[in-house]
Assembly symmetry: C2
Homo-oligomer: 224 residues x 2
Amino acid sequence: MLSEEEIEFLEGLQNNTLTVDRAQDFIVENADLRTTFIVIEGWAIRYSDLSTGRRQILSYALPGDILGLHVNFRATATYSASALTPLKLAAVDPRRVIEISQKFPIIAAGLSWCTAREFAILGDQAIRLGRLSARQRLAHLFLELWHRFALIENDNGNWVEIPMTQRDLADTLGMSLVHTNRSLKSLRDAGLVSVSKDYVRLNDVKALIEMSEFNPEHLTEFQI
Amino acid sequence: MLSEEEIEFLEGLQNNTLTVDRAQDFIVENADLRTTFIVIEGWAIRYSDLSTGRRQILSYALPGDILGLHVNFRATATYSASALTPLKLAAVDPRRVIEISQKFPIIAAGLSWCTAREFAILGDQAIRLGRLSARQRLAHLFLELWHRFALIENDNGNWVEIPMTQRDLADTLGMSLVHTNRSLKSLRDAGLVSVSKDYVRLNDVKALIEMSEFNPEHLTEFQI
DNA sequence: CGAGGAGTTGAAGCAGGTCAAGCGCTGTGG
DNA sequence: CCACAGCGCTTGACCTGCTTCAACTCCTCG
């Protein structure tokens, strides 16, 4: 229900696209950041490196997600971002974001919606890290990604794309690589999930939701 | 450098204030939420309850902080919020937030700034929970609160107000109450902090920053 | 064909969880 | 005014989920 002017404006944003290779950073923590990025294709991660070579992945950005939406009056990034898969981004001048809120209230509402959603996702990440066991963390994350994909793709059964390595999973869930591997095996052995290259099948969504205390409301709230 | 009209508008927001008793919820997860709250006095927590009686505190809201800034097109809350101390709030109609972005670009920029700050704080919380040891988590949290207070109060030395119980601290840092107590003692024994009723003294800020891998940039970025 | 990344598995140790008991303070009611 | 209930804090003892170190396999790519 957008006006022609609004649609034109949104399409105009996509003029300035760029591609990023796998494993390449496009936002660097503590460095200047004056661009807002919209993910067009592929997966990105937001993360932070610690001194000892440890890393915490904060969230995944999927097509349609926006990075650095509130960058306007900030000079340096509080996180890094890199391409998990080959990535296509639209680079937007943050001043245009301000323009949006003045000229296009409906689009502005959409951006506000995106922000609230990002908060809910990051909150879920904190719950995983703070209060769930290793198996629960894995199940909880898979369910999050499954629910998020359900919103941008047509029905894809119970499969979730998992392009990240077990190293990445471990750095997302605050666990060691070895224990991530073993916990994943334990979920497999319990028949809860099936794993194949780059995909995980959720064999019993209801049981997974139950065992991981996942709250679908946090995301279904953001269904269209 | 706000215009009179802007100042008048901001003061108008404070017309509708309310007080909340200690331990009382004013936002309930999964329930309707159609109000934006600005903390005027006291501390609030954002948290989520899990089925087994476990709880994860997501963040602390101090005077000047805003809860539910992006509530406009959302019907239900993805978290609960309650008063950690006696609390004074301003309740704002989210429609006024939209009004702001159209009419008062400078205030709107301020709100965007708040949002980015909240993201940085929640990201730090994920880093604590995911990649830090018990002692590091405590030190890291104290440093965050200390830095945040430095922005809203005059110089208060190395003291940080800590109105929360060790139960609350444990639920913030994803640890058990017993281990929180022991880790706090360990920090005390090392001479890094001194603890007295409702206050913690940071005896060696530099050492604490070092040992907890705290990144002050995440917050100093938001100094005025 | 060799190197290096990703996954898998075993063994040993430790950080943190759980259970349990006791202390000190505060508020409340007989 | 005292008794006692309840909450917050502390400490001991024991247990376990997770980490660390190490080795081996499989696959891909140059």
